[in-house]
Amino acid sequence: MTPAVSFQNVSRHFGSVRAVDGVNLDIEEGEFFAMLGPSGSGKTTCLRLIAGFEQPTGGHIKIFGETADGVPPYRRNVNTVFQDYALFPHLNVIDNVAYGLMIKGVDRATRTRRAEETLELVRLPGYGARRPGQLSGGQRQRVALARALVNEPKVLLLDEPLGALDLKLRENMQEELKSLQQTLGITFVFVTHDQGEALSMADRVAVFNEGRIIQVGEPEDIYRRPRARFVADFVGSSNVLPPDLAQAFGGPRRWASLRPEDIRIGKTGGHAATVTGASFLGAATRVACDVNGARVNVLLPSGSAVPSLGAPIRISFDAAALHPMDDAA
């Protein structure tokens, strides 16, 4: 099957800044794909390369097998939901949503009807006559979504679309976006710096750092089997153990990842540790320990006894929880 979007050794350099540096990536049709990384890692530039706002300085991008080299944004069958929504302030909601159809020359009656249908799809019916300035952040987000979807794009690009929403709204929108994607079957490419968002929504995740993709895989894969220190640390704040400690813990002499929630605290067995701090996180308590001079975090489920500061404890885990990593990046 032809991938929906294909990056072939794509680079985008701005002067001496390598925003995107030699990216190879295939995004499958119908996939909910997340690009995850800290700010400045190149994920948004990759999205803009797909949209056509940027042209690669090296390599090639193909969209459904066709080259995107030199194709301007207005001739690509992809649509974007912008981070700041970018709704047209001089148009009301219906005309915003119908903008793409108006440009295509669809007659007014048809485009109004289709805009209304799409607004219903994003659960914002009856708001057509309002101006963007009269809507809340969550409502603007739905309008931006409808404005993109009404054009029936083959790929929908979403640039941190939930970033400006408060927590509760964000969680609702995550579920809605996911079910919308499943209903429509459109390829979604989603940029985020929030690892929880990427893991909960995406079919596959690409982790970006410094313009490169460090790892691509299913959320569970990324979480359980990080390939590199950066992934282990960025996704779910794993304990990154240096080779010496990994060996002492019974693994091979390589950098290793050990998830805080996989560690148990006890009085016997395992390895000696000293409690150096504890912070209450709500659903769990994070206990910081010192093991031979290295810091190891332990996540205790809410309700379990939290050892007091400075107490000598023993930590243990299943051998399978210790995950040796391929490279030291």
Binding site: Y74, Q83, D84, Y99, A164
Partner: protein
């Protein structure tokens, strides 16, 4: 602690403010009064009598109509040139990065900071050097130099407040450059352009200094008035024309003020 009284100005300040406003505007009122005087050789106070005959006289004088027509034509064409060049320049400076961008920005604004007499002398010697005969078009060129500035200033302020992602959003939705300009950029900067254009028109309409250096035999309305003041016949006609000039320049400025006053919200800000 501030009380409501803190918002009230003392009586002294009020009197001073009133006096200053009177000082500024009373002379203008005098011009209007003299348009109705019966004495036509010199301005005497109080006017010996009142008449509206000078309006009829002004109406029937061909030199008034010539000057007025010329001024309107010059102001219209200068404004049109300024609208096109000023908008293009503002778009380039606000939307793109290029070498020397700040310099361009400064150079565009310079003509309005420069004394008109310097602009005038410079243009005159430049026209002489290039063997360009003084004509209607040299006046237009001279006026366009400062008209561009007001359009540019209005347009760039609006461009800076218009989110760049609006243009990208339009492109993303299938609109090419021209469609984006027509459906997104123009509606968002439209009022700023109208305001800038009206200011430009008003500036050009009453310009004297640059005009004296760039005009040939033609007299724009303000030049005609200057010439008229030294001639002791039908003096109140000048005052009638002055009233017209005040009204013609004041209305667009008032409209420009009204149009830009409401434009304070940031266009396209998402959150």
């Amino acid at each position: 602690m501030r009380s409501d009284r803190g918002n009230r100005a003392p009586i002294g300040v009020k009197v001073a403010a009133a006096a200053a406003l009177l000082f500024l505007h009373l002379p203008i009122l005098l011009i209007f009064v003299y348009a109705f005087t019966t004495e036509d050789k010199s301005f005497v106070w109080p006017p010996p009598g009142f008449t509206t005959q000078w309006f009829a006289v002004a109406w029937n004088r061909p030199d008034v109509w010539e000057a007025l027509t010329l001024s309107v034509q010059v102001a219209s064409i200068s404004t049109l040139i300024a609208l096109i060049l000023g908008t293009l320049c503002a778009a380039a400076v606000s939307q793109t990065r290029f070498f020397g961008r700040e310099v361009v920005s400064l150079l565009v604004i310079l003509p309005i900071a420069l004394p008109g007499i310097i602009t005038g002398v410079a243009l005159r010697s430049a026209f002489n050097l290039a063997d360009i005969p003084f004509s209607f078009w040299t006046i237009v060129l001279g006026h366009a130099t400062f008209c561009v500035v007001v359009v540019y200033n209005n347009a760039i302020a609006r461009f800076r407040r218009t989110s760049a992602s609006l243009i990208e959003a339009s492109m993303d939705l299938g609109a090419d450059g021209f469609q984006t300009f027509r459906h997104v950029i123009l509606p968002n900067i439209g009022t700023a352009l109208v305001a800038g254009g009206m200011l430009a028109f008003a500036l050009s309409f009453d310009e004297v200094i640059v005009t004296t250096f760039t005009a040939g035999q033609q007299a724009t309305l303000p030049i005609w008035m200057l010439e008229e003041l030294v001639r002791p016949r039908q003096r109140p006609v000048t005052n009638v024309v002055a009233m017209v000039v005040v009204i013609v320049t004041f209305l667009p400025i008032l409209a420009a003020y009204t149009l830009t006053r409401d434009g304070d919200q940031i266009a396209g800000s998402g959150k």
